[in-house]
Symmetry: C2
């Protein structure tokens, strides 16, 4: 399936700013291909030299680091509209891996052409920087969870954050959204053991906070869950403000 930049569904969500036809042409010019990969694929491998930049068009992914003895830390989850591999493209080797959590569709943006385009379209440079900043904000929030929240607060905060991100993408209906993470993913994102993650989820479920059904998550009490999470007042913006 070939998707054109002209009718990119992502733009429909107000995810990108209104742009001129001319600007759109420029973007379309750098987009090389539209990739489709199955769940579990390694999109960027740790140590990869000079990977390209991607826009995640559909599906979920996650960014992670590994210690030499196999311990894994998930740094952030990636949803449609997120930019993948910007950091990696800046350096000469990827410092982290990116793996597809579900089947994914990617728009490939060859980095050389991207840098060139910065000259012609300063607004694009701003947008890329904006997406990069937003991505760092998510890591900041996760770090705060892992460093200073209890297990229950961490799990609650993760679910609330993913719920809000999904909602901004119109992926939530009746407080229900696709939730492709396994308990191992949650554990590795929150710095918890698998067993404790399981027990914590069970506790929140018993408290009536949510229920899960074949790959979906339904929040039964988003307000309370947000309080349990000790969620921040200041929130990461979901889309450009301009």
């Amino acid at each position: 399936m070939q998707v054109s930049c002209y009718d990119c569904k992502l733009r429909a969500y107000g995810l990108f700013k209104r742009i001129s036809a001319e600007e759109l042409d420029s973007i379309r010019e750098i987009k090389r291909e539209h990739l489709q990969l199955p769940a579990g694929s390694e999109i960027i491998r740790i140590g990869d030299a000079a990977p390209e930049v991607f826009t995640l068009y559909a599906g979920w992914a996650f960014r992670y680091k590994m210690l030499s003895d196999g311990r894994r830390q998930i740094l952030s989850f990636l949803l449609p509209g997120d930019l993948l591999g910007l950091q990696a493209a800046m350096f000469d080797a990827a410092l982290f891996g990116i793996e597809a959590l579900t089947d994914v569709q990617l728009c490939v943006l060859p980095r050389k052409r991207l840098w060139t385009l910065f000259g012609k379209m300063p607004d694009l440079a701003f947008d890329v920087a904006w997406l990069g900043s937003r991505s760092e904000s998510f890591v900041d929030e996760n770090l705060t969870s892992v460093g200073r929240r209890t297990a229950t607060e961490r799990v609650a905060a993760l679910i609330v954050t993913l719920y809000k991100r999904a909602k901004a993408l119109a992926m939530v209906e009746d407080e229900t959204f696709a939730f492709p993470l396994t308990q191992q993913h949650i554990a590795d994102a929150l710095g918890l053991s698998l067993v404790h993650t399981n027990k914590t989820l069970a506790r929140l479920k018993r408290m009536g906070m949510f229920k899960q059904n074949n790959g979906t998550m339904t929040l039964l009490n988003p307000r309370i869950l947000e309080r349990v999470a000790q969620h921040f007042d200041e929130e990461v913006p979901m889309r450009p403000l301009i």
Copy 2:
């Protein structure tokens, strides 16, 4: 003391790329003032609307978030040459605070002028994005520490990372460098309690890894300390590659 961009000491470290006189003029044009603040100053307050962007010219600072009940998470430490507040300037409110750890000197870069300059100097846009990516990489590493390393590994990893960053700035002599963090800062960066941080530092000191003298840190065995830390093979670049 007024410092001119033309003889900026930071450039001497190869921290910035060689740039033309014309480019330098452009940068100097956006730099508004050179600020001096004492240790403990709040450089950016959480929730601040539309803060400016700063270059940390001299001194140390740290970026942090707080939970409503007072728990604090330090997200990253900032050394000379780092850009402060890029994220905050992108959004309409700062999601984190920045506090001076020592007396600091800041170059103020009014954000409007900075965005304008992106159009004239795409290379500058790239550099700003590069600094942003590097900053995110440090958060990534810290998150991996807090999530997946033991207390001893965390403390070792933090010391090694700061040592390497200081070294890249020519701030290390005889394995000795200024170390302005209190144990409370270390604890808040690593997601540990103050008491446990103290005992962990004592253990590493007893192991002969380092010694501290009125505000300085001396590494007695950097190699071993790096192994204790389970330090990554792939390292965050210290300066632009181009």
